[in-house]
């Protein structure tokens, strides 16, 4: 697809960087907004054109289409035109599947979907979860979007390995997906420390009483950083359980912490003691 001359002319109207490479001088809000509104009128072909104009990060060639695409993604939110937002998202999702597009530009598309995408973007982002170069940006976008993200992440998880799996598990943990409880509990036994910690974080947020024995055992057995994190997650789990009305399960966690932590972890013992006193 060829980028139209009209789009090139509009993009050229956006501000140039100042002599230090920054946007600090001659930044005319009205002119920028008028230009973006004009690009918006070009619809999907102009969105696709902006993607095609993207270049290497930091270059003069990349500056204006990069800024324009972000401004456009924000513009559709400012004017509250959801059809335009969906149209923009559809083009970005299509472009994520373009094998000719550089990884760094696809990362930017994920970032733009993080800004203005909704559930309709999850499927395309899900396909990026298998790509080590894109998994970070894709999982961050999915966590921001929330709606529909957990289904996408769970569907991808069985086929993911290494870095991609670790990122997907953290995303599921962040989103506190109840249907991922089994995967998160299994993660506690993983050979990778970061995956084990992701499992603990997710279980802590889920507030499932059955998780407590496994998480407490993991904390008891761990050393160093992992012990700090698992113990922290035990405390979070107890609070989540209390908030969910599961006070008996929370009390068991606090009692365990109080009775198993020695002077070197007196802050944990004291915290559990205070919580128990508060529960009464």
């Amino acid at each position: 697809m060829t980028v139209s001359q009209e789009l090139k002319t509009l993009v050229a109207q956006l501000p140039d960087a100042d002599s230090s490479g920054r946007y600090t001088e001659n930044i005319d809000r009205d002119s920028i907004e008028a230009t973006i509104a004009a690009i918006h009128k070009g619809g999907g072909p102009f969105v696709a054109g902006l993607v095609e104009m993207l270049d290497e990060p930091g270059t003069q060639q990349n500056l204006k289409p990069h800024y324009a695409l972000h401004c456009l993604a924000n513009h559709v939110l400012v004017i509250g035109d959801d059809q335009s937002r969906q149209d923009l998202v559809r083009v970005l999702c299509d472009k994520l599947g373009d094998e000719q597009l550089a990884t760094h530009n696809k990362e930017f598309l994920c970032q733009t979907l993080q800004w203005s995408g909704r559930q309709e973007a999850c499927e395309a982002l899900g396909r990026c979860l298998h790509d080590e170069g894109l998994v970070e940006a894709a999982t961050m976008a999915l966590v921001a979007i929330r709606q529909g993200a957990t289904e996408t992440l769970r569907a991808a998880l069985p086929d993911l390995q290494g870095k991609c799996r670790m990122h997907a598990l953290y995303a599921l943990a962040s989103l506190a997906d109840p249907q991922a409880a089994g995967d998160l509990r299994a993660a506690l036994q993983d050979e990778d420390r970061e995956v084990r910690i992701a499992g603990g974080l997710g279980l802590a947020k889920l507030a499932v009483p059955d998780s407590a024995p496994a998480l407490l055992a993991a904390a008891d057995q761990a050393d160093g950083w992992e012990r700090i994190q698992h113990s922290h997650h035990c405390m979070l789990l107890a609070e989540s359980l209390l908030a969910a009305g599961e006070s008996a399960a929370a009390v068991k966690i606090y009692q365990h912490i109080r009775e198993t932590r020695d002077d070197e972890e007196a802050h944990l013992r004291d915290a559990a003691e205070r919580a128990l006193a508060e529960i009464g």
Binding site: G21, I32, H104, M166, A243
Partner: protein, 407 residues
């Protein structure tokens, strides 16, 4: 919605559970733990983030703190994991470290503060405390949960007008039409990021992956590092995030804004760049009681002229009270003196610039930055600490982090 409700319940629980911590007086943890050190003598300290403000942040903790560990992502070529570290997690594992000074770029502040307090350390954290709003709630909850001392390394409130605070705390003001305008001093242009830059090779002594931490792993260029990091949303939030804690800490204290947040935010700025912080004009932030705060950069666009400053002084506010109410005010107890960090870690009394009040100060400028970035007015709920009716703007209140760095 369910998760927000759960968060509130947990916060309410922590809020009441922490009362005993704030008022109890106990000897330092070290003393109770091993009996090696008599009270009020010496604490083991660590500095995480040794460039820029690092030494100043450490020294602001006061006397009697022995520097046992220094940690910085630039120490790749000299780390021995005994005194010099590149990975803060190894520092926090040490049992002989009681207090930690954190002076990294702010994208790390909340993660490190929460982890440090979970490890039983007290924290002096360089401002800003956070990069986005929900991080601050996690820090405040950790402070209460673990009974730790947290102090932001900004001390404006310690010189605050206690009489002014007393008026606002008294509940005697029927309405509040105070307008406070803060003009300039926020280094907007100075801490703008580059939109054009040369990607460079990462220096041999720098752990760039660790530097980026919870932020996206961007191509390295020097302007993202070493002070000028302030110009990038990934790590901070421009001059506003850098400077506003200085300007707002005292007014937040004096005008009784420590337990609430603005509800309406109106920005005036050009559309922000997605990665580089840039120019803005002003922002109006209105509280539920009518108190209005205006941040006017004086660096972009016409000068702010929508409202005039009014009813800001002690005299103005006293004049709004009846004679009878002024008498009631005199009979009320004065606000408790604020406790310095050095005293707090010895007495276990909550520090004056603790995480809860700092969260409310930070929320002011984070909301302004969210409004600038979104280029639209916002509504905020001070109880749930979420933006209302704008899901996409709300994503900037609780931003995703790059694994494995998750709160």
């Amino acid at each position: 919605m369910k998760s927000q409700a759960s968060d509130i319940s947990r916060r309410q629980f922590l809020g009441t559970a922490a009362v005993g911590v704030a008022s109890a007086t106990i000897v330092p943890r070290k003393v109770l733990g091993r009996g090696e050190t008599p009270p009020s003598e010496e604490f083991g300290g660590a500095l995480i983030g040794c460039g820029g403000r690092g030494r100043g942040t450490f020294n602001s903790m006061g006397d009697g703190i022995r520097l046992l560990a220094e940690c910085d992502v630039r120490f790749v070529d000299r780390a021995d994991n005994k005194k010099i570290y590149t990975d803060y997690r190894r520092v926090l594992e040490r049992k002989d470290i009681d207090v930690v000074a954190i002076a990294t770029p702010p994208g790390w502040h909340a993660l490190m503060s929460v982890a440090a307090m979970a490890a039983g350390k007290d924290v002096m954290c360089e401002k800003p405390m956070t990069r986005f709003i929900s991080e601050g709630r996690a820090v405040a909850e950790a402070e209460k949960r673990y009974g730790r001392i947290f102090q932001i390394c900004t001390f404006g409130r310690f010189g605050g007008n206690q009489r002014l605070r007393k008026i606002f705390e008294s509940g005697l003001l029927d309405k509040c039409d105070t307008v406070r305008i803060l003009r300039g001093g926020v280094k907007v242009k100075q801490w703008s990021g580059r939109v054009v830059f040369d990607v460079r090779a990462v220096p041999d002594n720098l752990d760039w992956e660790m530097y980026c931490g919870p932020a996206p792993l961007r191509p390295y260029h020097p302007h993202r590092f070493g002070g000028t990091h302030r110009g990038y949303w990934d790590y901070e939030g421009g001059g506003l995030a850098d400077m506003a804690n200085h300007h707002l800490d005292r007014p937040a204290y004096e005008y009784g804004r420590d337990l609430t947040a603005p509800v309406e935010i109106i920005p005036h700025a050009p559309v922000a760049h997605p990665e580089a912080c840039g120019m803005w004009g002003w922002c109006e932030l209105k509280y539920a009681d009518g108190f209005t705060l205006v941040l006017d950069s004086g660096e972009w666009g016409p000068a702010y002229d929508r409202l005039q400053e009014k009813n800001t002084s002690e005299r103005d506010l006293l004049n709004m009270l009846s004679e009878q109410d002024r008498q009631k005010l005199d009979e009320m107890p004065d606000p408790e003196p604020l406790v310095r960090f050095a005293e707090a870690i010895r007495t276990r009394k909550q520090a004056g610039g603790n995480a809860e009040v700092t969260q409310r100060v930070a929320t002011i400028y984070h909301l302004a930055n969210v409004a600038f970035r979104c280029n639209r007015p916002l509504k905020f709920d001070p109880v749930t600490e979420r933006i209302v009716g704008d899901d996409e703007a709300d994503r900037l209140v609780n931003q995703p982090m790059r694994a494995p760095w998750v709160l």
